[in-house]
């Protein structure tokens, strides 16, 4: 086997893992800091993708379409938290049902507004060569994007008052209130941030994954499993789980078929959850 082939597989697998991580971070933040499993997360990604697409169609450059999508999804997220999630605190399964239903509504609205097929925006055509192989720049760039997003969330949660309040609220909800933290305001903020991260994912991945009303499902399943495998130390856990599961599946797919890659993903997930029912990070002593 050639060295350049190995390097190519490694880079593109790292890129696949990063794409999975980008799509998962919003879910990880909401699950890790609110204990809410947002089954509409995939649809928030879809909303982000369509927001960015619409923005570029009315003439905004792609780089400005991304923050537009983030702001749009953050606002929608805050409204959803105030109207729905807030009523269901501490009722995990009810929240799952409600967000699942919400996802269907988003999905149908997207079909009504945009139809079932929509144009991609075309990937920037830059590429570079590794030996005999040519790689597109944009997907490789996602490794960098994922790293920046991780660093941003880590700093937000460890170096701001909001971040400390959010972590206190999930670790000891009653004590957080008893020392004066207004948990419901913190939660609205957290859900808005989680939704904004989903919007960012949808927008920034738009050149790779075109907007379709049902694109959410693809992300929801793998993202959900990644977060559950990660466990309570959300950020580090999700990064490792995305790298292991997403990267591993991609390497497997390169050597065999993409079906075997998916089988790898779900098999390893099942084994990990059997070994660590509370997630791989259940016993870690880390902040995030």
């Amino acid at each position: 086997m050639e060295l350049d082939f190995l390097a190519t597989v490694l880079l593109s697998s790292l890129s696949s893992a990063s794409i999975l991580l980008i799509a998962t971070l919003g879910l990880a933040v909401v699950y890790g800091l609110m204990g809410v499993i947002n089954l509409a997360h995939g649809e928030f990604i879809m909303v982000g993708a369509y927001s960015a697409l619409t923005a570029t169609q009315i003439g905004l450059p792609f780089l400005l379409a991304i923050p537009f999508a983030v702001v749009t999804t953050m606002i929608i997220g805050a409204v959803v938290e105030l109207l729905i999630i807030r009523k269901l605190y501490g009722r995990l399964f009810d929240t799952m049902l409600a967000t699942w239903g919400l996802g269907m509504v988003f999905n149908q609205v997207a079909i009504l507004l945009f139809g079932t097929v929509s144009p991609g925006i075309g990937m920037p055509q830059w590429s570079f060569k590794v030996g005999d192989y040519s790689l597109a720049v944009y997907p490789i760039l996602m490794i960098f994007v994922a790293a920046v997003m991780l660093a941003f969330i880590y700093l937000l949660m460890t170096h701001t008052v909001y971040g400390m309040k959010a972590r206190a609220s999930i670790q000891q909800p009653q004590m957080a209130q008893a020392i004066g933290i207004d948990s419901s305001r913190v939660n609205t903020m957290t859900f808005a941030i989680g939704s904004g991260l989903a919007g960012l994912a949808g927008a920034i991945l738009l050149p790779i994954i075109p907007a379709t009303p049902s694109m959410g499902l693809f992300f929801a399943v793998k993202g959900f499993l990644t977060v559950v495998v990660a466990g309570p130390v959300t950020l580090t856990g999700s990064a490792l789980a995305a790298l292991g599961l997403g990267g591993g599946a991609s390497v497997t797919a390169s050597f065999m078929t993409s079906v075997v890659g998916d089988v790898f993903f779900f098999l390893v997930t099942a084994i990990l959850l059997w070994l660590y029912p509370m997630g791989i990070s259940a016993k870690w002593r880390r902040k995030l």
């Binding site: 400390m164 972590r167 670790q171 009653q174 008893a178 004066g180 948990s183």
Partner: protein, 232 residues
């Protein structure tokens, strides 16, 4: 200064405390005595708003307390729960800082001032709270409550599972903050010696109600009551 009036409440449909009224004057230390399961912790949680009141009211610094625990904290109610409940995946510094910031105080200054008051926590400042020993966590829970600059401090079984040397230190600290900052303290305890060493007045609870109100001297003299409280 701090009053609980006709408190009735519990968990779900189970009423645990019935028609309890107590008060703590400004800068006073009052003990809440009684054996296990008489409702001391429930009364504390009633006061914080963490359990819903069936009836009755709470008054903090002359104001009727709103239902929200967070608003009660900002009115000046500090709470150190039984079992400590520090934020385990946050550092010692963060545990104190978040309490200060949530009440509108500058985090850095408060942390520095509090670490000065609790030398025991200094070498652990950057450690995660979940890794501290029981006694250290108890001191941290107290430090966290003080960071909210309370006017009345509720302490629920602060000596439980804490080694004697730290208990003595804690009694000293409580007396000092009570004198220096004029913080009133209500302490629920089973450790009679600890209570006699810091408080001047005491309520005795039995089956969810206050059975006796007494002061230190009569409690010292009343061997029969002491025996009963110690569960001998």
């Amino acid at each position: 200064m701090f009053k609980i009036k006709n408190a009735t409440g519990g968990y779900g449909k189970t009423t645990i405390i019935r028609d309890v009224s107590i008060h703590v004057n400004a800068a006073e230390i009052v003990a809440l005595l009684g054996r296990n399961g008489v409702g001391k912790s429930t009364l504390m949680r009633y006061a914080t708003g963490l359990i819903k009141a069936t009836s009755g009211s709470v008054e903090i610094a002359g104001e009727t307390a709103p239902p929200s625990p967070a608003k009660r904290a900002r009115l000046g109610l500090g709470y150190v729960p039984q079992g400590r409940f520090v934020f385990p995946r946050m550092s010692v510094t963060e545990n104190i800082a978040v309490a200060a910031a949530s009440n509108g105080f500058e985090a850095k200054k408060t942390v520095a001032a509090i670490l000065e008051d609790f030398p025991l926590l200094q070498p652990k400042a950057n450690d995660l709270a979940g890794g501290l020993s029981g006694g250290q966590q108890q001191v941290l829970a107290l430090a966290r409550a003080l960071a909210t600059r309370p006017k009345i401090l509720l302490l629920d079984e602060p000596t439980e599972g804490v080694q004697p040397s730290i208990i003595d230190e804690m009694a000293g600290v409580l007396k000092r903050i009570n004198e220096e900052h004029k913080i009133a303290i209500l302490v629920a305890e089973q450790n009679l010696d600890f209570c006699l060493s810091i408080s001047e007045r005491a309520y005795v609870m039995e089956k969810g109600t206050i059975s006796i109100e007494t002061d230190r001297d009569s409690l010292r003299a009343d061997k029969e009551l002491q025996q009963e409280l110690l569960g001998v």
